[in-house]
């Protein structure tokens, strides 16, 4: 038997359209694996000891002077604390401008027929509740593996993903965290390749 400093603390599959709330301790590594490719994983980070100190997409973008996230990106909170760092990334870049889908924004973007399709913000509210994360605590999230090009002329589009089966991204917690995940069920745009698929979560701590 080999004794190592860290052990596999988490190994689970999140089905398409489902979610998870994961507690990651300081120094813990959480890997999200895009098992089938082109799957958006909507993710929020909270200081586990004070959920008002939460991930801030636009503070993160400003502090790194770049829109896309990848290895080395520091995930910054509303108080400018570093919550986590992206420490590995085989996909190449991730979005944090596009936000999460909701029933209401689907109606605005695609029409009334989408009103009762499942959406990420339903998943966030369902899995966040046990940690006290409600509507007021929902902030603008990261979309791991999602491709939202932003251009010098100020344009923004949702494009086919850059990801592929087995690509992964790994974050290392800079403090004790709640990581709230929605494996996006969106079927109205190419963010999930029109076909949402399962992801794997692996954790070491």
């Amino acid at each position: 038997m080999t004794i190592t400093a860290t052990t596999v603390a988490l190994d689970s599959v999140v089905e398409a359209g489902d979610g998870a709330l994961v507690s990651v301790p300081t120094g813990g590594r959480l890997r999200i694996v895009d098992l089938h490719g082109n799957q958006a994983v909507d993710t929020l980070f909270y200081d586990a000891h004070d959920i008002d100190n939460r991930y801030s997409a636009f503070d993160t973008i400003r502090e790194q002077r770049a829109v896309f996230l990848t290895t080395g990106s520091r995930l910054i909170s509303t108080r400018l604390d570093e919550l986590a760092v992206i420490t590995d990334d085989t996909c190449g870049r991730h979005d944090t401008v596009g936000g999460a889908c909701s029933q209401e924004s689907n109606v605005i973007r695609y029409g009334e027929f989408t009103r009762h399709q499942h959406a990420c913000r339903q998943t966030f509210l369902r899995y966040g509740a046990v940690a006290g994360i409600g509507q007021r605590q929902l902030a603008h999230n990261i979309n791991f593996f999602m491709n939202v090009p932003v251009t010098s002329t100020g344009g923004l589009t949702f494009e086919d993903g850059l990801s592929a089966p087995g690509k992964y991204v790994e974050v290392t917690a800079s403090r004790d965290l709640f990581v709230l995940i929605s494996n996006c069920p969106q079927v109205n745009n190419p963010c999930n390749g029109w076909d949402p698929t399962p992801i794997q979560l692996l954790g070491w701590w």
Partner: protein
């Protein structure tokens, strides 16, 4: 109502549906960081939804500012500038937080803001690198919003987080015009306005 905010100040006010709010830069390099909360005091400005619904990475005239729940909060009916930053947030701002607190809100209600009068240019490189553009706004530049439901609006004149220039004042003018025509809008924005008018406005 006409109020001149000095630089590095914060202010808030209710704005009734149908009224307009005009911000005017009082000096070159002004910045007005704006947060908006809707009529039910829970539904907030949602920058990602606003941008993805209207295929834009900046705020410009002819856009509807949308809420978390897919309603129209306000329409940008006119501006002398066609680029207002909404990607780079604001530094923690004690005075802005106090304005939120006056209305019963707090840190949990902070959301993606608009930095009116500021531009942060996006490069066409692999990271979409950002560069603050000094002097984007000049004294006299304006932006006018029409409230599409009863709003609470929060304004800070702290300098943009990436600016090393001095703080500048911003004038705030609230008016009650009889009617404000919709500007040319994308179909998604028209849908948000229609739903808002059917439900609450």
């Amino acid at each position: 109502m006409n109020h001149e905010m000095p630089g590095s100040a914060a202010w808030s006010a209710p704005v009734r549906a149908g009224r307009t709010i005009t911000l005017t830069a009082l000096a070159d390099g002004a910045n007005a960081t704006v947060l908006i909360v809707g009529a039910d005091r829970l539904d907030r400005l949602n920058i990602p939804d606003t941008l993805k619904s209207q295929m834009s990475a900046r705020i410009k005239p002819g856009m509807v500012l949308m809420s978390d729940r897919g309603l129209a909060l306000a329409t940008v009916v006119a501006s002398t500038l066609d680029w207002h930053d909404c990607l780079t947030g604001a530094l923690p701002d004690r005075l802005l937080l106090l304005e939120l607190t006056k209305h019963g809100f707090g840190e949990a209600d902070l959301h993606g803001c608009i930095n009116f009068f500021s531009k942060v240019a996006v490069a066409d490189d692999p990271r979409a690198s950002l560069a603050y553009i000094p002097g984007h706004a000049h004294a006299g530049d304006t932006v006018t919003l029409r409230a599409d439901q009863d709003l609470l609006i929060f304004v800070s004149t702290a300098p943009h987080a990436l600016s090393d220039g001095p703080a500048a004042g911003v004038a705030v003018q609230l008016e009650s015009p009889a009617h404000v025509e919709d500007p040319d809008l994308r179909e998604e924005a028209v849908r948000a306005l229609r739903l808002t008018r059917e439900l609450i406005a």
